[in-house]
């Protein structure tokens, strides 16, 4: 799946009076992504290939078209990204990293591919992947590194928990310590940052809330404070931003709204206005969604825009669980 932006442009075409979700164009757009090898950007975004496949496939599931990408090729590609250490890289030959390992497990879960992982994956199957993830936990602090080079970020706790929970291997890691680490990242405004002391950021808040949801420890969240901060992410135009005084962006339709949903505060924003903003970010003829109206579409924003709509229970989309 390529991360090439365009060709569509959000709101590039005259919108009908009543905003509609352009389901068929979005499906075709996603299907076309891997045919764009004659564009330089296709190659420059290879480091996102496996994430891209996850985003595209997830979007297709939301659009009720789970079979729009061929299952066998999907599994073949995922397994071709697995490194000898059990983790997955962005594309064949790329180094393993938790960001891609989580996507790989998510894709395999979506296409019911764990059996193939056992058969054709690196020796050990699910356990090899579980071991790769487990070895990245910092046993002293509880947090996770992204890969062997040691970068730590609360996103990686989320990636690890997503991978391990889908593989039913949560027992391999010290969940309590990881939860303790997340608590140490909480700020006075109720939010979470990349690391202890770091500024609250909606992406990290999603990562921390999702990890706490998986660990069944949302009781540790100051829900009123966090809900207040998150609800203030909605801007005049209905879209959501990632931090105070920043521009709105379609991807926060997921990061912010699903966090609000996880803490039971989704009704603290105007869902109707958000839906409208998201719909205005689509190219209803050529398919795909962009970060903001007028910008180039791409599969990342397509997925997270659709996921936001699904969370708001927009007609025509599959229901989605926040975490």
């Amino acid at each position: 799946m390529s991360l090439v932006s365009g060709p569509g442009r959000a709101g590039g075409n005259a919108l009908p009076d009543e905003l509609q979700l352009a389901i068929e164009p979005h499906v075709k757009y996603i299907q076309s992504l891997d045919t764009r090898k004659d564009e330089l950007e296709y190659w420059l975004t290879e480091h996102l290939r496996l994430n891209g496949l996850y985003w595209g496939l997830n979007a297709l599931h939301l659009l009720n078209r789970p079979d729009a990408l061929p299952r066998k090729e999907t599994i073949d590609f995922v397994l071709s990204c697995q490194a000898d250490n059990g983790g997955f890289g962005a594309a064949p030959g790329h180094d393993a990293h938790l960001l891609y390992t989580a996507s790989a497990v998510q894709i395999l879960a979506m296409v019911d591919g764990f059996g193939e992982l056992e058969k054709r994956g690196k020796e050990g199957g699910a356990m090899a992947v579980g071991k790769y993830i487990t070895d990245l936990q910092n046993r002293e602090t509880g947090t996770f590194a992204g890969d062997q080079w040691g970068e730590e970020d609360t996103r990686f706790i989320c990636c690890a928990f997503i991978g391990l929970s889908l593989l039913k291997l949560m027992n391999l890691v010290d969940v309590g310590k990881a939860v303790g680490y997340i608590i140490s990242c909480a700020n006075f405004d109720g939010g979470y940052g990349v690391a202890p002391g770091a500024e609250s950021h909606s992406g990290q808040i999603f990562a921390c809330c999702a990890a706490l949801t998986i660990a069944r420890r949302l009781d540790t969240v100051d829900k009123d404070k966090l809900g207040m901060w998150l609800s203030e992410r909605q801007t005049e135009g209905g879209g959501l931003n990632g931090r105070p005084e920043k521009l709105e962006d379609v991807c926060y339709s997921w990061w912010v709204a699903s966090s609000l949903s996880m803490i039971g505060r989704l009704h603290w924003i105007d869902g109707g206005k958000l839906s409208k903003f998201i719909l205005n970010c689509q190219d209803s003829e050529r398919g795909g969604l962009a970060d903001r109206p007028g910008d180039m579409v791409d599969v990342f924003h397509t997925n997270f825009g659709l996921a936001g709509l699904a969370l708001l229970e927009f007609d025509g989309l599959e229901e989605v669980d926040a975490a």
């Binding site: 996102l48 970020d153 770091a198 950021h201 901060w229 609800s231 931090r243 105070p244 505060r265 910008d295």
Partner: protein, 405 residues
């Protein structure tokens, strides 16, 4: 990620034949370079030549994390001198290059911003033994790499891999070089991150990196001492700078520094009370300036200050020894200030929200139910909130029904 803020192109672009061929050529060139690196790494050619090939590729595509990892391996398995051998050797040659550095930086007080072929011109060439891990000193390599990255970071300030690789390089310096030499490198990072934050004062990578650099410079291992005072001053400067009072990143960092600052000053109760007063004065003055009563950054900082008064359990607070009477006094004073603030800013929802929150907080501190007039006030303020901010009506509904009301 993908394409944030990429504006629409003017018209639907159909590539001309010439453009198509040009793009094809660029793809070929890019993929050939990639293949060449892969081949040479497979042959374990950990040489300067391959390092330069990776420089070339990373300038085209700094997001290619695997190539940054290749670079790490090139350095640690091939190019860095062995730690045991290096100490005396590198210290010696170091001192001279350090003097150069100091001179250079005092002359133009900036980092090199050479964009093209930074690596090829700065990496020392050693014709004698290109394959035996003895090409120049570890320090020279690290310095060259840091310089090579600078223009790329200025161009791609939000690329995680860049910040990440840079920290790794500096940690290698900690491991491989004398502490005073490593310290000089970290000190230069403070200048670099300062520049990055001038360019974008909200870059959270930059703020996070600044925190890391400062904690390294403070560490006993590098002979450091606390920088909490100067960092606190830095946030004051940023708050009065470009994005000004709406710079939530600066306010946030300030909130994190305060408990340590007071601790290190061994501030007594009186000094702490004065400090809190000064901070309230700063933020309230800010709110009276221009459009700031409507900007949320200032209100979040205000919330932080109030937290130290109203939620005194389990938080690092400015005034840990406040009695309930002290707390009630502070909250009462703030309620007066907030009511005054409404004059001329009757359409500012933040004031109404704060008035409700802190009226309720006062009742909790005084362990009593709200009086009739307080209940009436809150009802009126809530009506204003619903009117001014209908997007969040669900929140106002919950506020109305919360047990605190």
């Amino acid at each position: 990620m993908a394409s944030h803020g990429v504006p629409r192109v003017a018209e639907t672009t159909q590539r001309t034949e010439a453009q198509r061929l040009e793009e094809e050529r660029q793809i070929r060139e890019y993929r050939d370079l990639e293949d060449l690196i892969t081949t040479k790494i497979a042959e374990r050619q950990y040489t300067l030549e391959v390092l330069e090939l990776t420089s070339k590729l990373l300038k085209k595509n700094p997001e290619y994390y695997t190539i940054w990892n290749v670079r790490r391996r090139l350095l640690i398995y091939g190019l860095f001198s062995k730690p045991s051998v290096s100490s005396s050797h590198s210290t010696e040659s170091l001192n001279t290059s350090l003097i150069d550095t100091t001179k250079a930086s005092s002359e133009n007080s900036s980092f090199s911003t050479t964009t093209s072929s930074a690596a090829s011109t700065t990496i020392p060439q050693n014709p004698v033994s290109p394959n035996h891990g003895r090409n120049g000193t570890t320090l020279d390599l690290i310095k060259a790499d840091l310089e090579f990255m600078f223009p790329i970071m200025m161009k791609y300030p939000k690329c995680y891999w860049l910040w990440n690789y840079r920290l790794w390089l500096l940690q290698e310096a900690n491991e491989r070089l004398e502490p005073e030499v490593a310290r000089e490198l970290w000190k230069r990072e403070l200048t670099l991150v300062g520049k990055m934050l001038v360019k974008d004062s909200r870059n959270f990578h930059g703020w996070g990196y600044r925190g890391r650099v400062v904690s390294e410079l403070e560490s006993p291992r590098l002979g450091g001492q606390s920088m909490v005072e100067s960092e606190f001053e830095y946030t004051t400067k940023m708050i009065h700078g470009d994005k000004g009072l709406s710079n939530f990143s600066a306010w946030h960092r300030r909130s994190k520094l305060i408990p340590r600052l007071l601790g290190e000053r061994s501030a007594n109760d009186e000094a702490r009370r004065q400090f809190l007063d000064d901070e309230f004065e700063l933020i309230i003055a800010a709110m009276y300036t221009d459009s700031y009563p409507y900007q949320q950054s200032a209100w979040f900082y205000y919330q932080f200050l109030m937290t130290t008064v109203t939620e005194y359990v389990g938080h690092a607070t400015i005034t840990p020894n406040f009695t309930p009477e002290d707390r009630a006094e502070y909250v009462t004073r703030q309620l007066v200030i907030l009511k005054d603030m409404l004059d001329g800013a009757e359409d500012c929802k933040w004031i109404y929200n704060a008035l409700i929150d802190y009226t309720m907080a006062l009742c909790r501190i005084e362990e009593r139910a709200p009086e009739l007039d307080e209940r009436q006030d809150c009802t009126a303020w809530l009506a204003e909130l619903r009117k001014l901010d209908p997007d969040r009506s669900g929140r106002w509904g919950d506020l109305e029904n919360s047990p605190r009301q």
